[in-house]
Symmetry: C2
């Protein structure tokens, strides 16, 4: 049985990123749920571009990356490359995909490098076998990821009181589905969710709220200037977010807004749990680069400009939450203090 069974629509593999019939189809999360459309990629360069254009986000780019490698193998077949040329092509594809976005590059690199390892470690005799091999890895990788996330979702669910209220920032993706699955298994169908909308991409309003609604739970959206006030007024029990990166010294890099909600949760005495494994690469903030995204996104709302000519904008995609504002790092191995992530690697 596939691990994504009975999860919300956009958490099903085919609705994240999927190779079939010579193309990779990526659900366009920029316009969901207003429209349900897929960006069709004919080459791995199209996949890189789709990742850069934020067609998908959160965990989406990882499946897009591994499926992009399947597409690269398909390109080798179309180009009729010999084995040596195929290996060189796959290496270049892996590098191109790994570097699509700076903040997520270390996890992305890990995935495409393992995909590439399949190419060189296995004895494949034709491109169809190669495609199958690399697609098998993609499904295995995403299934493994979903299963690890399920362990986090299960632990997170134990921290939520029956009838309680959870605030979650941006789109923690699979973790949201798994949290809902395990809240049900624990008899907590009455838990309520509050999701800040997460401008400018609106992950909270569009994606998180849709997943929670799909999973059958009560969900209220708020604007991003409300969490500090609402978490007290509506008696939030727990704040949680996923992470684009957790450094080994306990700094959480996640969608901009996480930091300020974490500080406010701390002020109100509400625990903040981050989900995700600490980075195997980034010891501290020294090697972290925060992307600046297209300023025009801040000046527009669903494509409509709201500002006078001459008005500028800033758009840092992520922010950094220091460990003192994080109550626990929920990993597939258990819950760790952000100051004790060494224990995770032991």
């Amino acid at each position: 049985m596939r691990v994504d069974k009975d999860l919300a629509f956009i958490l099903q593999f085919e609705n994240v990123a999927w190779f079939e019939d010579g193309v990779v189809r990526i659900l366009d999360r920029r316009i969901y749920p207003m429209e349900t459309e897929y960006v069709v990629c004919h080459t791995h360069h199209d996949v890189v571009k789709a990742i850069q254009d934020m067609v998908t986000q959160s965990g989406g780019p990882y499946l897009a990356a591994s499926m992009g490698m399947v597409l690269a193998a398909h390109e080798c077949k179309i180009k009729n490359l010999d084995k040596k040329e195929t290996i060189a092509f796959m290496r270049e594809a892996a590098d191109a995909i790994a570097n699509a976005r700076p903040t997520t590059s270390s996890r992305m690199k890990n995935i495409v490098d393992q995909s590439y390892a399949k190419v060189i470690e296995n004895d494949w005799h034709n491109h169809d076998a190669l495609i199958e091999l690399v697609k098998e890895y993609a499904i295995e990788e995403v299934s493994g990821r979903y299963s690890r996330i399920e362990k986090m979702g299960e632990q997170l669910a134990t921290k939520v009181p029956k009838g309680g209220t959870v605030m979650t920032q941006c789109f923690a993706e699979t973790i949201v589905g798994m949290l809902c699955r395990h809240l049900k298994l624990q008899g907590k169908e009455d838990v309520k969710f509050i999701t800040p909308e997460t401008r400018p991409y609106l992950q909270g309003a569009r994606l998180t709220a849709s997943v929670i609604n799909d999973m059958g739970f009560d969900v209220h959206v708020i604007t991003d200037n409300m969490p500090g006030y609402i978490m007290k007024e509506k008696k939030v029990d727990l704040f949680t977010s996923a992470s684009d990166m957790i450094t080994q010294d306990g700094h959480v890099i996640n969608k901009v807004g996480t930091f300020q909600i974490a500080v406010l949760a701390h002020y109100h005495g509400i625990p903040y749990y981050v989900t995700g494994a600490p980075s195997t690469i980034h010891k501290d903030l020294e090697t972290i680069e925060i992307e600046e995204r297209d300023h025009n996104d801040v000046l527009t709302h669903l494509g409509k400009k709201a500002t006078m000519d001459g008005v500028k904008a800033y758009y840092p995609a992520f922010d950094i939450t220091p460990p003192q504002f994080c109550s626990g790092v929920i990993t597939e191995k258990g819950i760790f203090s952000p100051f004790d992530l060494d224990s995770y690697f032991k």
Copy 2:
């Protein structure tokens, strides 16, 4: 010389709310600067509805209220009411306008009561004289308000270092224009501004940024999930907001978002100055009611829905910042500690 001379377009009296030719025209701040349109009110009930519909906001409703009284006087003329009937009609109009919105009702009541006082204290012989009398009061009231605000703007400007960066929330309206006027007079044309967009009405992106741009200063808009991160990254020197209400015990009631930015400014060691006089009526929070607004505004962006059916929303219009997060209350009489507002009344 009128006190609004050389201020930004939307701070000119005629572009706030203005009685002329038997109607009150109110600039529609809901769609500015994308469109520059006026809502035309033919009765004081239209003015009440416009205030309730948030056609105008911040200081706008106060001028709309006093101009609404002029319109009521005009209605008495059209209805050909006698003196006694006119006085009764004006009393009813004053009550209707005063209660248009709960949070601003005390200031609003003060304005329409003074307008009504003109009606009963003065010896007017026909409705034209009454109209002139009440309009004179409206202009006098708004001019007095602008002049008091100018004193606040001047003091606030002294707190901004040359070349410094100011963050301001929502739309502090006239204070923004007066701050800019006095920054120039103090030789600080190089000051930069950062304005959180202030969803869902976008006062920051649409109104504040437009005024600052009109006044010739550098301005960057950010989304409401960025202030905590940006105020450190861009080295903000000062956070400031206006107030819908300051209780006598130092709680600031202002557009939702003010509280969380104040907490974050406090965390970063950045001063937060609120402008506005303490309430003559509200001693503490006991008598304060926070309006809940139309939830649909949270679920839509410039009229376009972003959420799946079934997803709900919260929309508290204001929040409450406790005095420990406020560095000073800037009034027309000087700067006071929020814990020492008794001194303001001495």
